[in-house]
């Protein structure tokens, strides 16, 4: 785990204005520090993930960014405003604990959520009907929320989050509780939002979602953010891994293998040397090692997470995933 927190700019977006900027956010509950000095910068139009195990401080961080609670220390700005409620019409938020009025019709629920964000109720309701049609839920528009399946109710709430066409969409564990099909739909929806220029920030404890979708991530563990920056830069924290298979078992070429090389089964595994693969290749050829296969694999976000946040955080992340799958 890195000793000091670091903030690496999301390189491609370094020149873009920031949708969210937070510096040194601290939140304590009853003497317990839930979030401890979080720094986050999210450029406009980015898909940004907050990645960490359950209880790491993701939701508290998002709540502070949205102005639901105020930080005890630090500053946060959303589109340059320190009071997010002042620009409520620009923001859409889907909380982790989904909730709608059970007796409300789906279309009215979306209308109500739009009205909360400043849309005239009639306009929001009409737009809600359109969105339900577009997303294949037209038949459920006039059904009460209590009559819908959990997945459908979640989709209704997501549409309610988007009905007022926000410029920033904040999703707290949006994939939680969705089946694979709906997770795919949600991923496509998030990409479509970003293509339209909407900034999307979501929290997750599933690395795969962040790796597939995000250009920037903040890794959070124990209330601290040991890394915030681009996914590429996170992966680059770990040298690429080389897997080598040779015909010969012994020879002078073995001296050219890096010090961390280990032999497992038919393969040699080691980190890509700083000097690159070429000097090693030369030694293997000249030593007649007989290269049967050679692959260089860039580290995944999971490896980066383990490297940055530590084994314990990674274990907690995996336990959270397993618990969710059991449900």
């Amino acid at each position: 785990m890195d000793a000091a927190p670091s903030v690496t700019p999301v390189s491609e977006n370094a020149m873009r204005p920031l949708a969210i900027e937070a510096r040194g956010l601290v939140k304590r509950f009853d003497g317990t520090t839930a979030v401890d000095g979080v720094d986050i910068s999210v450029p406009e139009g980015a898909i940004y993930g907050i990645l960490g195990p359950n209880g790491a401080g993701k939701t508290t961080t998002l709540r502070m960014l949205l102005g639901i609670i105020d930080p005890d220390e630090g500053v946060r700005k959303v589109f340059g405003h320190s009071r997010p409620h002042d620009i409520g019409r620009l923001i859409g938020y889907l909380p982790e604990e989904r909730g709608l009025y059970p007796a409300m019709k789906a279309v009215d629920a979306i209308g109500f959520l739009g009205a909360l964000r400043g849309m005239p109720l009639a306009e929001a309701t009409a737009r809600g009907r359109e969105l339900l049609e577009e997303n294949g839920l037209g038949h459920a528009a006039d059904k009460q929320i209590r009559q819908l399946s959990k997945g459908m109710a979640q989709t209704v709430q997501l549409l309610g989050t988007l009905v007022h066409r926000p410029r920033l969409v904040v999703l707290d564990e949006p994939f939680s509780g969705l089946d694979a099909l709906n997770q795919g739909k949600l991923e496509r929806m998030i990409r479509a939002l970003a293509e339209d220029g909407t900034t999307v920030i979501f929290s997750t404890h599933v690395i795969a979602h962040a790796e597939r979708l995000c250009e920037g991530v903040a890794i959070i563990a124990g209330g601290k953010v040991p890394y915030a920056g681009s996914v590429d830069a996170a992966r680059d924290r770990i040298p690429a891994q080389v897997r080598l298979e040779t015909r010969a078992r012994e020879g002078a070429w073995r001296a050219a293998l890096p010090a961390d090389a280990r032999h497992e089964g038919d393969y040699w595994y080691f980190s890509l040397p700083d000097s690159g693969i070429e000097p090693l290749l030369r030694a293997l050829i000249e030593g007649e090692a007989g290269i049967l296969s050679l692959s260089i694999e860039r580290a995944g976000l999971h490896d980066a997470f383990v490297h940055i946040a530590g084994e314990a955080a990674a274990r907690a992340l995996e336990e959270g995933n397993a618990a969710e799958q059991d449900q």
Partner: protein, 406 residues
């Protein structure tokens, strides 16, 4: 999906509160539970009204009012003899012969405790004077004329003219009647507030159970959420009051019941009704905001029930304070009841019944409105601080008392 960009703005506090209030109001009004909520007090009123009527009749039969006869001795005996003769034929009030000296002030005799005089008959058989309440005079005037005529042996076609003296026109009686109006209004205000304020609490608990509260908190300031909820419930309460009041008035109109005996409050009926509604709104908003703060603090429904007990006790205490203060206008206790925000509406409606001055009501309403705003703000701040936590949930007890323990 987001081809166009929403304009950068936010809802004003009042508009945001309106969005919440509109939803809550319609949701409650259109629910089946509201129908039963409306029925509850009607059944209660009907049952208690019936029980009251039965009780009143029983009490009347057990202790019928008597006519005190305070005439010169011979005439009084003649009157009694006439009573004995006619009573088997016509139902007459029971009579008691009283020493005329004791009846030198008939009004005082009527007020004497331990006696059960409905009216006092003085004067003579040819010029009887009947003193009593207007109701009682109206009821007994004919009987007295008949008995006096019979006792004096006069022609049954010529009855003596009964001179009447109503005791309700005196200043003391009026004051006493207004105090009664004050107590009645105060009690009604308390009962309505007690009945309706709890709805705010259950509404917020429902909101927490639905988990929609976080969406609301993210979209608009909590002040607006609280205000919206309070005013929605207030509007629902007014609907309830309109229904119950309408039914009550219809019953009274049909029976001719209380209208005749309701003493006019000092500020007059129209203004008194307006002030009653305003003070109900204030009492409701103040106690409602306290309940909201409790709902905000309590993590579970069980905790809500536990925590609402002190607030209910506070309501009772406030009621007793205001009732006590209403009998002693201008005293330090009454002033304290007027100033203390939760008791202020009750103390002021009591004043409206007894004192005609209007300016204190303007000051009191402004004072109470200020406290409503303060309570709402404190409640919403508490909510943000205590409820919007994530991570492992502590038990309610630990949450509430953890700080104290440390």
């Amino acid at each position: 999906m987001t081809g166009q960009t929403a304009p950068a703005a936010r809802l004003s506090l009042l508009r945001a509160a309106f969005v919440i209030a509109r939803r809550d109001f319609l949701a409650i009004l259109l629910s089946k539970a509201f129908f039963f909520f409306l029925l509850g007090p009607i059944i209660l009123i009907a049952v208690s009204g019936g029980a009251g009527a039965i009780g009143a009749k029983a009490a009347k039969n057990a202790h019928p009012a008597q006519l005190a006869v305070a005439m010169p001795t011979e005439q009084a005996h003649a009157f009694a003899a006439a009573h004995d003769r006619i009573d088997p034929l016509v139902s007459l009030p029971a009579i008691t012969l009283v020493d005329p000296v004791q009846a030198s002030d008939p009004a005082a005799l009527l007020q004497r405790s331990g006696e059960n005089y409905g009216a006092v008959l003085t004067g003579s058989l040819t010029q009887p004077v009947l003193t009593g309440t207007e109701d009682q005079i109206r009821k007994w005037q004919g009987e007295v004329a008949l008995l006096a005529a019979t006792a004096s042996g006069a022609d049954q076609q010529s009855f003596p003219r009964v001179v009447t003296e109503s005791t309700t026109t005196s200043g003391a009686a009026k004051k006493s009647a207004r105090a009664g109006t004050a107590t009645a209004a105060l009690t009604l205000l308390f009962l309505l507030t007690m009945l309706l304020a709890g709805m705010v609490l259950s509404n917020l608990v429902e909101e927490k159970a639905n988990k929609i509260i976080e969406v609301l908190a993210a979209s608009i300031p909590m002040d607006a959420v609280f205000l919206g909820k309070l005013f929605a419930m207030l509007a629902v309460s007014f609907v309830g009051i309109a229904v119950w009041g309408g039914i009550g008035l219809a019953i009274m109109g049909a029976t001719g019941g209380l209208t005749a005996s309701l003493p006019v409050p000092a500020v007059g009926w129209p203004l008194f009704v307006v002030l009653f509604l305003l003070y109900f709104a204030m009492a409701y908003l103040i106690i409602g905001s306290v309940f909201l703060a409790i709902g905000a603090m309590a993590p579970t429904v069980r905790d809500v029930q536990t925590l609402s007990m002190p607030a209910t006790m506070l309501q009772l205490g406030v009621f007793f304070l205001a009732t006590y203060a209403s009998t002693d206008l201008g005293s330090p206790v009454e002033l304290a009841a007027v100033i203390f925000p939760p008791s202020s509406p009750y103390a002021m409606i009591s004043r409206a019944a007894q004192v005609p001055d209007l300016w204190p009501h303007l000051v009191a309403l402004a004072w109470q409105a200020m406290w409503v705003v303060l309570f709402v703000r404190a409640g919403s701040a508490m909510f943000r601080r205590r409820v919007m936590k994530s991570g492992p949930q502590q038990s309610g007890k630990r949450r509430l008392f953890g700080k104290v323990a440390r």
